[in-house]
């Protein structure tokens, strides 16, 4: 009898080693492709930095923003990045709290996307400031009555919770890495040692860990809703056509879940192919994420119908020029591309099982993400170009906004920065939670602790 138990235990130990090897192996290897990728992202980021230095020297006049369009692609990018970051709460909290098993191997992917995106959302806000050296004034003189101050508080809070939610489930994995991954530079093993907190995997430690993760999972949902609702209020709390809407909060959140789910699908595909994680990111995962993407897109479509149908039916004076600009005017090309290619066609395609396979889904998800970026642009810019007060003696160019080269470079650089954080992170830490996968396979703590 005891022999068979030993046998089972041995098998499980073997299986654990297999899992660890499989999940940790790709981290060390960095092929030429990876190096080119990092170099490419670094060049984009450095170019953006150079352009930002130019912007500091010459002022915001290097951008195309002028008196009328005072928010441009920077703020669109901020809204986009905040939207992407919301996926952290969708997958690590909402799905996990619903005890959806397949979400386990996606939690860390979504959480690192969330952290990287929200870091650059904060950076891009500073980039948009004409006088960044006065940043501290927001904290010294900011009024609690202002939605901008709410946004600062809530974005920072969300960053802290996301970081904790990334870190806490990492602790048992760090202990495993300390044990199994010894062929690393000294700084890296030192990093594992410090961050793993000397994890021993006692029952009490697991209890505290799981309780803390549960607290964060519950806490992050309202904070995630708050971060994007407040971001939408930056627009909705002003009296302008296109922004003066009561459904802006849920409209933004629905859109965020959609783009976030799409971003995770893209990341899933890359890890599946590059890291050979076919057995952790299975066709089933893609199938389920496809269904989730359809669900979030349908909700977003519903809000879109509300957001455009009601003003379109009424055609109030100020709203009508805004709506006409989107439907048939200056922005109609981009608007219909975003709505049809970025939302309606993905919904239709993903209803078929054939398209919920990894490769077609990845392509659809990339289109959804790009569409989502321009959707944010369409929310921010056209409204600004229709000022409520009649304006006089403005140069013709002030009535149009086309982002300048500097703005595009900085925007691309910020997105490169997000990808850079993720790329470096996955080289140091396992992107699939090892201990959670082990638990699901019935490998208990005793074996993990050995």
């Amino acid at each position: 009898m005891s022999v068979s138990i030993n046998k089972v235990e041995e098998n499980k130990t073997e299986r654990l080693k297999e899992i660890v090897n499989h999940l940790v192996q790709p981290m060390g290897k960095s092929g030429i492709g990876f190096k080119i990728w990092i170099a490419f992202l670094s060049i984009l980021a450095i170019a953006a930095l150079a352009m930002y230095i130019k912007q500091i020297q010459e002022g915001l006049s290097v951008t195309a923003m002028r008196d009328i369009a005072s928010w441009g692609i920077y703020i669109s990018n901020f809204v986009f990045l905040v939207a992407v970051s919301l996926v952290g709460s969708l997958i690590t909290a909402i799905l996990k709290l619903n005890k959806i098993k397949w979400a386990t191997s996606l939690t860390r992917i979504s959480e690192i996307i969330a952290v990287a995106a929200v870091i650059f959302a904060l950076i891009i806000i500073v980039v948009d400031m004409g006088r960044p050296e006065r940043l501290l004034n927001i904290f010294m003189y900011g009024r609690l009555q202002s939605p901008i101050v709410w946004d600062i508080i809530v974005v920072n809070t969300y960053l802290v919770i996301s970081l904790l939610l990334l870190y806490l489930p990492l602790i048992p994995d760090l202990a495993l890495l300390r044990k199994y991954k010894t062929d690393v530079p000294k700084w890296q093993s030192e990093l594992y040692r410090i961050l793993s907190l000397g994890w021993q995997g006692t029952d009490e430690q697991y209890k505290i860990l799981k309780k803390s993760i549960n607290i964060l999972m519950v806490l992050i949902i309202p904070v995630a809703f708050a971060i994007h609702t407040v971001t939408s209020w930056l627009f909705a709390s002003t009296l302008r056509p296109g922004w003066d809407s009561t459904i802006f909060g849920p409209y933004f959140i629905a859109g965020a879940f959609m783009v976030g789910a799409a971003a995770v699908v893209v990341a899933m595909y890359i890890f599946r192919v590059k890291y050979n994680y076919q057995c952790y990111l299975t066709d089933y995962h893609f199938n389920m994420m496809g269904k989730l993407l359809v669900l979030t897109s349908l909700i977003y479509l519903y809000f879109n119908v509300n957001e455009f149908m009601v003003p379109f039916y009424k055609m109030k004076t100020a709203e009508s020029s805004h709506i006409k600009g989107l439907f048939s005017g200056e922005f109609s090309m981009m608007f219909w591309m975003v709505q049809i290619l970025g939302m309606i066609i993905p919904i239709i395609l993903l209803l078929f099982k054939k398209f919920r396979k990894p490769k077609p889904m990845m392509i659809i998800a990339v289109i959804v993400v790009i569409g989502a970026f321009f959707k944010r642009y369409l929310i921010v810019t056209p409204t600004l170009l229709h000022p409520f007060l009649p304006v006089q003696n403005y140069p013709e160019s002030y009535h149009h906004y086309v982002p300048s080269f500097e703005e595009w470079t900085i925007t691309l650089g910020s997105i490169a920065g997000v990808l850079l954080i993720i790329s470096v992170f996955v080289k140091i830490f396992p992107i699939i939670p090892i201990w959670e996968v082990a638990h699901e396979e019935g490998i208990d703590n005793d074996i993990l602790n050995k």
Partner: protein
């Protein structure tokens, strides 16, 4: 064959769109009968500033708000006065016709002004004059009077036909009042009614200016008077002293302070709890090793 026809069609269209501005022969022979005098230049400049500058630019170089021709380039300056007159009077495409808006001598004055722009040395030197502003009257019948004179050998000589601009100083600039043109009479004086309902400072004091501007005859000259002619301004700070959404940060509404800080405290309490738990985990590891 079809291709050739198509090309001819395209060429015709291109040529047509670039067609020259055809001027009737008799129109181009029209003679400018307004002499280039300081007065006509002043009139021309003032009309240019009002009607032409917005499109053609302050320097008449075509760099205004709209795409427009340069009026100082040879392409215009080499044209006869009569041709320019015809163009201003009848207009074409973006250029509006001015024949119903401006008098004939006004158009000539504008042309004289355009000629001077490329040849500024030919303008006679501006005279230095003295401008004196005074105010009289009561109630709704208050008026200001400007008097322009030049220092002669023995006495001051009154200057007729000087256009005076009247202004009231406001918080961020000057507000014009009086007629579009206020030419001084033979006595060198011109008056303007002070508008009613003007708000002054706390005592109702307003500052009034008279200016000679945009003139070729005289250098820029200003005089001002201070009169207690306005209504006293009533500053109501009550709304700012109450707690409200638009008040300063130390006057935020109580409900907002409670709700916002309550949410912040609530969330951060749990964050701190989790951070404490991290240290508890660390402590447990040490205990275990012991």
């Amino acid at each position: 064959m079809k291709l050739i026809l198509f090309l001819i069609f395209i060429i015709v269209i291109v040529l047509k769109s670039q067609a020259q501005w055809t001027i009737p022969a008799d129109a181009s022979q029209k003679i400018n009968n307004v002499e280039i005098t300081p007065k006509s230049l002043t009139v021309g400049k003032s009309i240019f500033n009002k009607m032409c500058q917005s499109c053609h630019g302050k320097k008449a170089d075509g760099m205004g708000l709209m795409k427009s021709a340069s009026l100082i380039a040879d392409s215009l300056q080499l044209q006869k006065d009569g041709v320019i007159f015809y163009k201003i009077a009848t207009g074409k495409d973006q250029m509006p016709p001015f024949q119903s808006i401006l008098k004939e001598e006004e158009i000539w004055a504008v042309i004289n002004y355009l000629r001077i722009l490329v040849n500024p040395d030919s303008v006679p030197p501006a005279k230095n004059v003295k401008l004196i502003l005074s105010g009289t009257g009561k109630g709704n019948q208050r008026k200001v009077t400007a008097m322009v004179m030049e220092k002669g050998d023995s006495a001051y000589i009154m200057q007729p036909d000087v256009d005076i601009h009247f202004y009231i100083k406001r918080e961020f600039g000057l507000m014009r009042f009086g007629n579009d043109y206020n030419y001084t009479g033979s006595s060198g004086k011109v008056s303007a009614m002070f508008p009613t309902g003007i708000i002054g400072d706390k005592e109702g004091v307003v500052t009034i200016y008279a200016k000679i501007e945009d003139s070729f005859m005289f250098t820029e000259t200003t005089d001002s008077i201070v009169q207690k002619w306005g209504k006293p301004i009533v500053v109501n700070n009550e709304a700012f002293d109450e707690r409200s959404l638009w008040a300063s940060r130390d006057k935020a509404p109580v409900w907002l302070l409670l709700v916002a800080n309550g949410i912040i405290l609530f969330v951060w309490l749990f964050i701190i709890l989790v951070i404490v738990n991290i240290f508890r985990i660390k402590k447990l590891s040490k205990l275990f090793i012991k």
